[in-house]
Symmetry: C3
Subunit: 174 residues, 3 copies
């Protein structure tokens, strides 16, 4: 399957360790623009710190990195530009951060998605599909899964291109 040049908004959805970040990085490389990485993850613990280091090593050189745990709409408005490609990795960590900060998630998610139409340059979003297992017993996990599912639907509706990734292979859904 030929990977097309990303449209304005690209959404890369996949499971844990599905190769979604690597695939999204490949799309960003192909764009031939200045590469900006928006990291939503925060290093809470050693496991997370290690994952962040691994991601950074995998990405390699040539990225400008921005740490944006919460204010994603504002950050994208500042960072996006016609000569840049912005990679946001990942939306499920952004949701986690919003929940931890007790923000009004429905509003924040809607606002972020609504802001995309006005951006002057391409953005690639990466997110984890988390809704294909058994219903979690933990109510926070259920709420998280609901938020993630809603955001994915909203984003996919406005995205120009949507990929589902499994075993490192892309499936073009839109």
């Amino acid at each position: 399957m030929a990977i097309q040049h990303p449209g304005k908004i690209t959404f890369v959805l996949g499971g844990a360790r599905s190769g979604k970040s690597r695939f999204a990085e490949g799309l960003a490389e192909e764009a031939g623009l200045q590469k900006h990485y928006v990291a939503t993850g925060e290093a809470w613990d050693d496991e997370m710190r290690q994952r962040i280091v691994q991601h950074r090593q995998q990405r390699g050189e040539g990225w400008v990195t921005h740490e944006v745990p919460l204010e994603l709409s504002a950050a994208l408005a500042t960072i996006a530009a016609p000569d840049r490609v912005v990679l946001v990795d990942c939306l499920t960590l952004w949701i986690t951060n919003l929940m931890m900060a007790e923000r009004a998630l429905d509003d924040e998610m809607r606002r972020m998605v609504a802001s995309l139409a006005a951006l002057p340059g391409p953005v690639i979003f990466v997110s984890n599909e988390v809704g294909l297992g058994i219903v979690p017993e933990n109510s926070m996990a259920r709420a998280f899964r609901d938020h993630a599912g809603r955001l994915h639907q909203q984003l996919a509706a406005v995205a120009d291109t949507v990929f589902f990734i499994a075993a490192g292979l892309p499936l073009k859904m839109k």
Copy 2:
């Protein structure tokens, strides 16, 4: 991707908050027939009650609703008709209800699937894919997952059309 007019039996499979119900409702609208909704869910608790209300609001006007927690084959034989489209939402809740009622699930599922060939009108089934996460530690959850997977295979084998939904987008599998 153009959504085709539903065949006699349509199966819409997807994760939690994947937009599968909304997609199935759209298929039902397109059919241009009298719309009948078979709700398998029962309001055990507040969370479930809230979900049922949300689903009802999302569906909008113009549906005849039937509450069918257990006797799905019998209900479909009564409800299905050439001038009606029947939407069953969802099969995983039906499985939960059968397990709670200690029914013989393999028999009930086989009987329901076998009954479909004789129905005089189109039916759209919605179900949750729950088998793509880690093996659950809880043995009831493992049994549930096994039943769901078996029913999905049986139904997909006889269905005219099968969609897998992720982020609100359909992938036609059959």
Copy 3:
């Protein structure tokens, strides 16, 4: 969707009870070669013993079975041949066994994947996608999920054909 004759390395990925083993067995039947089954599962408990018996009954006659909990590269080098088709079911159980035996998983997985290019006959691998649910609370489960995801990416990269199975239906990803 027409199922093509398997290439040298075929990878069948799917959820629990998705029909992935049955689909892989069908591919092996179509190959028209002597059928060899490499079972990675060990009968730890009654549930596992029952699953092994069910799988054996489903497969039917005509298979030579090899029990290979750990030494998969070595076994494939011995078993694979131009007049045989080898079915390995499944890789997630192999990963579990490697973890239980405290092996160096990254090395073992890389070595196994690297050994495939030299095999003289076709091999079909079956594995469980486990990364599409909520992040497991258990750190062993998270490690397992990471190993599985990494192996799936490595195997898909070298495989000639990759199928994703849901509800018994194949989706050709490569």
